[in-house]
Point group: C2
Chain length 270, copies 2
DNA sequence: GAACGCAGTTCTATATATTGAACATTCAGA
DNA sequence: TCTGAATGTTCAATATATAGAACTGCGTTC
């Protein structure tokens, strides 16, 4: 009946359906446990995890033991609490090393961050569900944005969302439905949003001027990994008046042209 | 009976025993698949993965599908190849965010890297097996060391190894056995190594002058997370003559005292 | 252009992972 | 110090994930 308690059933359901459909349910459970541990501020006991995810305690224990054996989870024998362990990094590292998009995007992100004094991101688009930050560049040591590599956001939010809506080839109906579920500081009307999406389609860049977060201007441009396969986006984030009316056009140009260059490089070879 | 078949056994055996003992073998398999995909330069097909790990193809397929559903693995329907996906980052991120050692170590690593013009690492010690790089600071934009966050090294190698041998409370016999398995550019004799370990125990810092990698000086100091629980180490790496005889003592002092400070902070509270 | 080989996938019997209850252990409060 | 209620853990019955054979479809070779 508290917020937390009301939120749980969904997680149960989502996990339950994943478990039901899969032929390897233990893996869905393991992933759910890892994510639960990731969400938690503090290490958790077996029961706490089992309750949150709607698992049988004994099953949960076996999952945890397997994850400990694989070094993804750390176990403190004194407190009998579990937490994420450094092993999760050993998976992330090879991915970062081998990602073409990252290699191509990082220099461009650095350059734009420097010259325009903004924070820049490279994000990967995962369907209509969400986007994941995979590369990042800060302007100065000034503002530490709470965004980090690995952060997730809803797909259709902010400027990036307009790019996905404009270029993603998704059915209108689904876009609208998902649009309704978003949380903005100052949500645009569906009407207004569609107009902005149309404009984005025309210009090849999207701008969100304080809608998503008040006082923050976000610019985003799409990147394709192959003809018709929208896969990533470049994003620039300016806080406060760092991106005034005067400087916005230059930033838009920079982001759009960088995105285009990367698209060409990704599509061109192989 | 072929060459290929003979090459595999080690990985097979390790995985086979993990699978046999665990009550959640699917998780061990999933971890093995993720690591195999991490090792591979290119995306892999079902059969290739199954062969490398000694799995039944159909089982391997089910594991892959579950991992795809969890967004840890990306599937290309055209080529039918699998590769790591950005989802692995979403696990790494919360770990990095919440790690006390990281928060405490990063400023110190930055400072030492700047003032001594070396690359500095924070590493986590995972038993006698290996160490994992969990934090990192570069001096200038000069040399890009191949080390990254998430990299793994054998526990007893180089300067860090001497720290672990000196302060880890491990039985002598096991140390010797593992020492024999190490690969150095210029391996010290067991005799010499033991002397260096003894010296490390006395001084509280270890130095590896070109043994591990020719021309590279490594300095390491131990960090405890609680009384008697050696858990991390700070490492400084100087390439070529960046760390001459004259500057070495200062670097040793800096690393040792930073390690001590962090130890106190970790043990002090809670 | 047919035949072969190989990769990916589906299907089903069975070995086994999961469940839920029983047991053990810790801790708080009376 | 004892009691009760938590938690963590083990255990045995059974629902089910897995292994291995069968099937499909593509690319190569002869």
């Amino acid at each position: 009946m508290t917020e937390r308690a009301r939120r749980r059933p969904q997680r149960h359901r989502a996990l339950a359906s994943a478990v039901a459909k899969s032929k390897a349910p233990a893996i869905s459970r393991a992933a759910a446990v890892l994510r639960a541990l990731g969400r938690s501020e503090t290490p958790l006991g077996v029961q706490a995890i089992a309750r949150e995810l709607g698992l049988v305690p004994s099953t949960c224990l076996y999952v945890l033991r397997a994850l400990v054996a694989e070094e993804f989870v750390a176990f403190d024998p004194d407190t009998k609490r579990y937490a994420l362990d450094a092993g999760v990094l050993t998976l992330a590292q090879p991915w970062l090393r081998r990602n073409r998009f990252n290699d191509l995007a990082q220099p461009a992100l650095d350059r734009i961050a420097q010259s325009c004094e903004v924070t820049t991101l490279g994000v990967q688009i995962v369907g209509l569900e969400h986007i994941i930050v995979v590369a990042l560049a800060q302007a100065g040591q000034t503002f530490q944005l709470s965004t980090q590599i690995g952060s997730r956001f809803p797909a259709l939010i902010s400027a990036t969302g307009r790019c996905i809506a404009a270029f993603g080839d998704h059915p209108e109906a689904e876009l609208e439905e998902r649009f309704q579920a978003l949380r903005w500081d100052a949500a645009p009307t569906l009407e207004a949003w569609k107009k902005q999406v149309a404009q984005t389609r025309q210009q090849g860049v999207a701008v969100d001027a304080g809608h998503y977060i008040a006082g923050v201007t976000v610019v985003a441009a799409p990147v394709w990994k192959a003809r018709g396969k929208l896969s990533h986006a470049l994003v620039a984030i300016g806080i406060g008046n760092a991106v005034g009316k005067a400087r916005l056009p230059a930033l838009q140009d920079a982001v759009r042209s960088a995105a285009r260059t990367i698209t060409n490089q990704l599509c061109g070879e192989e």
